[in-house]
């Protein structure tokens, strides 16, 4: 599976390099602002870095779904399905590579943000200003959230699990359009509607499951729920591929 993983990583390498390039440019602008004490480049760099991080992480996930679609609908599919790997391994390597890439990007952008805040603190702002800025950001997600290492860690876990679930649900929609709906009119639209319906159903069922009330256990519990759903979606998708997919 490590070999499949390696090639999945290679398939999205170009776009990752583009995001790293854009990040480098934004970081240079930001650093000019910090060390030159120019307000405009500082704000431009910070906003640019923030949106590059958001767009980068979102794109990594979406690109993974697009790559799966290409791998199933073009002749490049032979490169995967001629090899002695079953659908579970092929799909598993895609999901794992994506989770790994999202996690790595999160760590990369998180680390860069921490470094940039530290530089800002050292040169311009007071610590209290930075803490207020992060607190405001967390409160926009959930008013109960505070800046504590365990809260941040569990929040990161929740975001990762929720993102993996969205991606694996996207895989299911793509596989449905290429198997059970293949050759039918508007298969793309139908599979998108199925994606929305499954996402709503998962949300509705998850809300009905009683969980802990405190912030950290509640976030951890929801992460586990998302992960269980993602694993279920993965098995359903791989099973459909195994039984129905012709490339």
């Amino acid at each position: 599976m490590s070999k499949l993983f390696k090639y999945e990583f290679r398939k999205s390498l170009f776009s990752k390099l583009i995001f790293i390039g854009v990040t480098a440019v934004m970081e240079i602008i930001y650093l000019i602002g910090v060390f030159g004490e120019y307000e405009k480049p500082l704000v431009l760099g910070a906003v640019g870095l923030f949106f590059t991080a958001l767009a980068g992480i979102a794109f990594i996930g979406i690109e993974s779904i697009l790559i799966l679609y290409r791998d199933l609908t073009t002749k490049q599919s032979y490169m995967l399905f001629m090899t002695p790997n079953n659908s579970y391994r092929i799909l598993g390597s895609k999901a794992l590579e994506n989770a790994f890439s999202v996690l790595l990007s999160g760590i990369f952008f998180g680390g860069l943000a921490a470094l940039d805040f530290w530089l800002l603190l050292k040169n311009n702002l007071e610590l209290s200003d930075i803490i207020n800025m992060i607190t405001d950001m967390l409160h926009s997600i959930d008013p109960r959230l505070e800046i504590k290492p365990n809260v941040l860690a569990v929040l990161l876990l929740l975001l990762l699990c929720s993102w993996i679930l969205r991606i694996v649900t996207g895989y299911l929609a793509v596989v449905l359009s290429c198997t059970l709906l293949s050759g039918k009119k508007a298969s793309g639209i139908i599979s998108f509607v199925i994606y929305i319906a499954i996402s709503l159903l998962i949300g509705w069922v998850s809300d009905k499951i009683p969980g802990p009330k405190e912030v950290v256990p509640s976030l951890a519990f929801n992460s586990v729920i998302f992960l269980v759903w993602a694993i279920l979606m993965y098995f359903v998708t791989a099973w459909i591929m195994d039984k129905k997919l012709s490339v």
Binding site: Y7, Q76, M79, M82, P84
Partner: protein, 236 residues
């Protein structure tokens, strides 16, 4: 060790691409799969390679239903280009080496040299003839028990065609099945042991070429004309 299809059928929407074909291929021989475009040759091969799931019937390899493990011993070369566009010829070899235990990098390099290709060539920049040669090289560099080549001579000039036919003949082994589809009937006649005639999704007959020449006194090309003559424009 045998490759066999039993009553295998594949339906795409309203079109039946392969209709109840039962066929047995034995090791040690070269089979020429013949038939006009759309007769079902490629679909049959893709089912044997595990790329297409049959609608009904089953494909067997070595007496057991075809599965993922069978792909370790079955090499298939598609007529269409299928390599990732970011790959060089060298990357293609590394990819095969990563996934197929029977792949020999040494043999691949030697075949590339014979085909006048280099490892640094980018696959997206290859002409159709060069791409065909690359596909042949990487497929024949596997020591697979079954080798299926779908239209291997497509887009290849006469001189390179001779070189490729030589490589194909060299791949013959007592424990290997070689199946080649082509519309260049005369080219295959010189190397094939059996001809498999497929017409409009059905298997018409499998003939040993030597027996065909002796019993009917005709060549494969003549037999091909007999079988497909009334198909007009559908003939290749």
């Amino acid at each position: 060790m045998m490759l066999e299809s039993k009553e295998i059928t594949k339906v795409f929407g309203k079109k039946t691409a392969v209709d109840k074909i039962s066929l047995k291929l034995s090791p040690g021989f070269i089979y020429a799969m013949l038939g006009p475009n759309g007769s079902g040759k490629t679909t049959w091969m893709k089912m044997a390679a595990g790329l297409i799931k049959p609608t009904s019937g089953e494909m067997y390899y070595d007496g057991r239903p075809l599965d993922v493990a069978s792909r370790k011993e079955i090499a298939y070369m598609s007529t269409e280009p299928y390599f990732y566009t970011w790959m060089t010829a060298g990357d293609v070899g590394k990819y095969y080496q990563d996934f197929f235990e029977d792949f020999s990098m040494e043999k691949y390099r030697s075949l590339l040299e014979r085909m006048e290709l280099t490892e640094d060539l980018k696959t997206k920049a290859l002409s159709s003839g060069m791409m065909a040669k690359l596909k042949i090289a990487v497929t024949l560099a596997r020591d697979a028990r079954v080798i299926m080549l779908d239209e291997p001579l497509n887009g290849i000039d006469l001189l390179a065609r001779d070189q490729i036919m030589k490589c194909i003949v060299e791949a013959v082994a007592p424990d290997r099945i070689l199946l080649i589809s082509s519309h260049l009937v005369e080219e295959l006649e010189t190397v094939a042991d059996y001809a498999v005639f497929i017409k409009k999704s059905h298997l018409i007959e499998v003939r040993e070429l030597e027996e065909l020449r002796i019993s009917e006194g005709i060549s494969v090309a003549d037999k091909y004309r007999q079988i497909y003559a009334n198909m007009g424009g559908e003939n290749e």
